[in-house]
Assembly symmetry: C2
Homo-oligomer: 297 residues x 2
């Protein structure tokens, strides 16, 4: 047996998860989320020289949390980047999540889990009990029972339309009623989500919608008026301001724009002041997206 010291975090949240996320957006003045996808080869040299790999990944991620606190509403933690280090990586992920929560950041666990029955319950228990995640990304291919356990005071972002090159192979297939598969998944999400809508008017079931298909995003927005869209792909992954505009409702609410590499790796490899550089990149990202939201439509 391993002898890890991972304390189980006592769940600490109150209120509806959509309201908590919208409150955080209000607080920082821009609907932005920073994706923490740490990769050892891209870390600052000062960490790479002095630390074992998984320790470096944790320290770097904690530094990013400190840099973006007060500038971003949420952080999205990429589970894969930690899981590749096994049990130690799992412990590091829990530590980073706890640090984010202590800095008043909404924690989105980007785990893309998707199972049923007792397995789905267990995954949800991990997201809640180990990482104290406000929201978890999940795959909807198995239907609403795959994401139901991730609700109950927390939120689930269901993959609806992803921006990767292969994403359309399944998601853009055309049904006999004229909808795409992604649009059918969107309607399933909207229907399931109506069971729990917060004071903000948004549901505890949100949708992952990639930033590089603005026409698709507009069609999905119409089908999911009460879903918060989690929109990855801003910046390094190719999404522009125009691409993300379609993800918002007419009132400028309802989407959280995520940037990862363009913020967290915004430093020179040899810089000693990498945290400052990340903080500046986060501030620029916040301002840029705030401008998109304010722009007349």
């Amino acid at each position: 047996m391993a002898t890890t010291s991972t304390a189980r975090t006592a769940p600490s949240v109150t209120g509806h998860p959509a309201d908590r996320l919208l409150d955080a957006i209000e607080r920082v003045g821009s609907p932005v989320c920073v994706g923490i996808d740490p990769v050892w080869s891209k870390l600052p040299a000062v960490l790479r020289r002095s630390l074992p790999e998984v320790v470096g990944i944790q320290r770097f991620s904690e530094g990013v949390v400190d840099a973006v606190a007060g500038r971003a509403a949420a952080v999205k933690l990429q589970s894969a980047c930690f899981e590749r280090y096994g049990a130690e990586g799992f412990a590091a992920l829990a530590a980073v999540a706890a640090r984010a929560r202590s800095r008043d950041l909404v924690v989105i666990l980007d785990a893309k889990r998707g199972d049923i029955g007792v397995s789905a319950e267990h995954y949800a228990e991990a997201a809640r009990g180990r990482f104290d995640a406000d929201w978890t990304t999940v795959n909807g291919y198995l239907g609403p029972e795959g994401f139901a356990p991730f609700r109950r005071g927390r939120g689930a972002f269901v993959l609806v339309r992803t921006s990767n090159p292969d994403g359309g192979l399944v998601q853009s297939l055309r049904l006999d009623d004229g909808r795409t598969v992604a649009e059918a998944v969107a309607e399933m999400v909207a229907k399931a989500g109506d069971e729990s809508v917060g004071a903000s008017g948004f549901s505890d079931v949100g949708a992952v919608v990639g930033a590089t298909h603005p026409a698709d995003a507009a069609a999905l927005r119409r089908r999911m008026p009460r879903q918060i869209f989690l929109v990855p792909g801003f910046g390094a992954q190719g999404g522009s301001a125009d691409d993300v505009r379609a993800c918002f409702r007419g009132d400028g609410r309802g989407a959280v724009i995520t940037a990862s590499r363009s913020v967290i790796f915004a430093f020179e490899p040899e810089s000693e002041h990498w945290i400052d550089a990340v903080a500046e990149a986060a501030a620029r990202f916040r301002a840029e997206v705030a401008e998109v939201v304010r722009a007349p439509r």
Copy 2:
């Protein structure tokens, strides 16, 4: 930081993953896999009385591995049941996987991961480097780039048609060309899988096909002649011998039937001899499925 002692397993396999699985089936004389989905409340009283929860989960799973070795071709390890215990659970899962490999069982990691780019690479690295898994279950909603990293000497079972009540909500939608979504995913899987076919004639991309929709299974079999079907749901989950027959090719090959609860919990809670009871249940399961394969069609 946690101070786990999880040694990183040196990958140890050679040959094509489909050939390895079919060889194991040949060796035990029946295409059966035992699903290890341990749940604390169902463990033998003798373990529950004396051990902390995650230690009990590990010991139980190792006992199941010993009981089914030589009787099953493979074990399917349900990642969720371990992940719920955080870093310690991750370490326990690695230990159980190592035990299974040492007993000549093919290791199927039931993780249902699904991501893209560097995240998919990291998940695949975890499956390979931490758990030394021969095969991993993955979700195909993001397209072939989501499961490509899980290949390279290992195999990926892509979710095509699941047997849960909600499974049809997306998977049975009808496309404008008459196919269901599951059938379209099947063709995507077959096409991607053709890139790597072993000496056995089967691909390193397989398909998860639930046991409770025989008509669906037959339609999927026609579309995926070179895919090994991983068929959960035999026994406790409702699938019968007739239900699974349609998953095999005409030559009686090409499917691996999985039973979980009906084998691993086949003991009286107070029994001291629970390992013997699991071994007997595995032997019955092996004989029952061998009968299905031999039956004239």
